[in-house]
Symmetry: C2
Subunit: 337 residues, 2 copies
């Protein structure tokens, strides 16, 4: 029996077995969300689902039910942002342990419905059950496209510039604080890092704008770290990529607690920023038009022809391969970042 050792491999196996064959289904297994075209409507709908498990994806001693609710909906809504669709609805399955209070459940639900996290997605139903081993959360979110303008992971071409929104590695910097027991010291950078880790804000406004702009070729969100997610976008687009290390929008303050900001930016997960590619000829127009009220965008590199090459250019000009050291549920030794 082959032991399950890679999430990517398993998804490839499943995609092969369950191909897209339904006219109503525009995008199946393997992207951030599935896209359907229901009934006689002109609109496309995107559906995404994510599970969060106590002990794996969160620890109760590091968060609060309200914040956990915020994060649970945010990570799902981020998958919709990654396609540029507007979040509309969500369902939640929650399994709680014996002794969980009604207040805990209500606070969790209050977080699920927090505007900065849900971004317009409305709770429409769910399932509540008991768990013998830790709290379990599974959310499915639905988003609606505008004018069918949806961005996928595929579509990038050699020569396209690669961009990200916001700052990379901030969530991982917050996680290291919690892991080292330093989460209680309340300096501003620490607060920023902890907030980003506990209550990430999905980039919906930026995502919808980028999809509507017509200037972007492909997009996804960064959930498992740039070094895991960039190869996924490249694989879907059939290209490689070259990242300029000195251009990465790192969280420099992480040095204050002895983290390497560049390593966090490359391999730290859960930033929920957007990663996207823009044709070279359109990149200046995009940079000019992109609204300043949204999280800043940074050009971090470009897509290249060779699909096997995902590399980073170091400041001195040295090129080396980018190792996949982000998060994979099934890799025997996941780095703690």
């Amino acid at each position: 029996m082959t032991k399950l050792t890679s999430e990517n491999r398993m998804i490839q196996l499943l995609r092969k077995r369950y191909p897209r064959a339904d006219l109503c289904l525009k995008k199946g297994i393997g992207d951030d969300a599935a896209v359907i075209h229901p009934g006689r409507s002109d609109e496309y709908w995107a559906i995404t689902t994510d599970m969060l498990l106590e002990g794996v994806d969160f620890r109760l001693e590091w968060t609060r039910p309200f914040m956990l609710g915020c994060k649970s909906i945010a990570v799902n809504v981020s998958d919709l942002a990654a396609m540029g669709v507007q979040p509309r609805f969500f369902t939640v399955s929650l399994a709680v342990t014996e002794g969980t209070s009604e207040r805990w459940v209500l606070e969790f639900y209050r977080g699920l419905n927090a505007p900065e996290s849900a971004k317009g997605a409305r709770l429409i139903g769910g399932d509540l059950s008991g768990s013998g081993n830790g709290i379990l959360i599974s959310i499915t979110a639905l988003g609606e496209s505008k004018g069918r303008k949806i961005l996928y992971r595929s579509g990038g071409r050699p020569g396209d510039f690669v961009y990200v929104t916001g700052i990379l590695g901030q969530s991982a910097a917050g996680l290291t604080l919690l892991q080292s027991g330093k989460g209680r010291f309340r300096s501003r950078p620490r607060q920023d890092a902890l907030r980003r880790h506990r209550t990430p804000e999905p980039r919906c406004e930026a995502g919808v704008w980028l999809a509507q702009s017509g200037l972007v070729r492909c997009m996804m969100d960064l959930s498992d770290g740039l070094s895991m997610d960039l190869p996924r976008m490249c694989s879907a687009s059939g290209v490689g990529a070259e990242i300029e290390l000195s251009n990465l929008p790192v969280f420099a303050k992480a040095r204050l607690w002895d983290c390497d900001p560049v390593q966090l930016a490359l391999h730290g997960g859960e930033d929920y920023e957007l990663l996207f590619a823009v044709p070279e000829a359109k990149s200046r127009l995009l940079e000019r038009k992109y609204p300043s009220r949204f999280p800043k965008i940074t050009k971090i590199g470009k897509l290249i022809q060779n699909p096997k090459q995902i590399s980073i250019l170091e400041p001195g000009g040295k090129r080396r391969a980018l190792p996949e050291r982000g998060y994979d549920h099934f890799r025997p030794s996941n780095p703690d970042v």
Copy 2:
């Protein structure tokens, strides 16, 4: 802090806090599925979600990955059948333990896609992760209405006749075999009971037909047992009910392994049959028109005025209250049926 002790109570609290306010949302928390009216389409869509946990909802030693896949999709699709909508799509979140094989996952997915269980619902995406404590499954299924004909739990009126499809208590009879370690004796009735428990068949064709017939006022599926589910339908409809014990379609063969068929029919869960109410004046027409290729329907009682009274009429004419002894995740002592 109030400990969470009742699923019904928690759902009531949540429904109060998150009322239906979106024009696109036709039915929110508290029915078998939520109903949305997306975009400019003429169609309604129903969405339902259910979580299945190892040790709570299933045991690996009592089933196989293929059968577990069948059941996982069937219990969700049954919620769509309960509204009379046609299953179309589903997503699955699966968390597996260390050492789970690729073969296990593929067999589970094969079950998810089995035609007799999925009833036309197509897998469109999901999430795969690792769990430290047992296998976890969460599915969200979407169904499409035809001509907006959807049946809810509400809508029943005093005097309506109450019907069920199929046989009640067969799944619980199978469960008792497994619990007592007698699952391996292979007589025909035992096989029937085990099959019903492991791979229930959702009543989609019957559900769609009943919704389209225009003769039915309200409907739901029986997942937690008649004594738990009938009060839910009554509560949603603002009525009471009177069940004639002698009319119950029981699984008489359960006597072979010392079970009381009537108790199983009243309190046994996971039959996934349909429970529905029909105006008295239309009941004969319904019985005449109902296709014989579908699971038989049985009139088991009627709805009454007093919303506080859910009672059973015993063969001698004695009336007694029906105690809620089906399955509630949070009740301190769940009966083992």
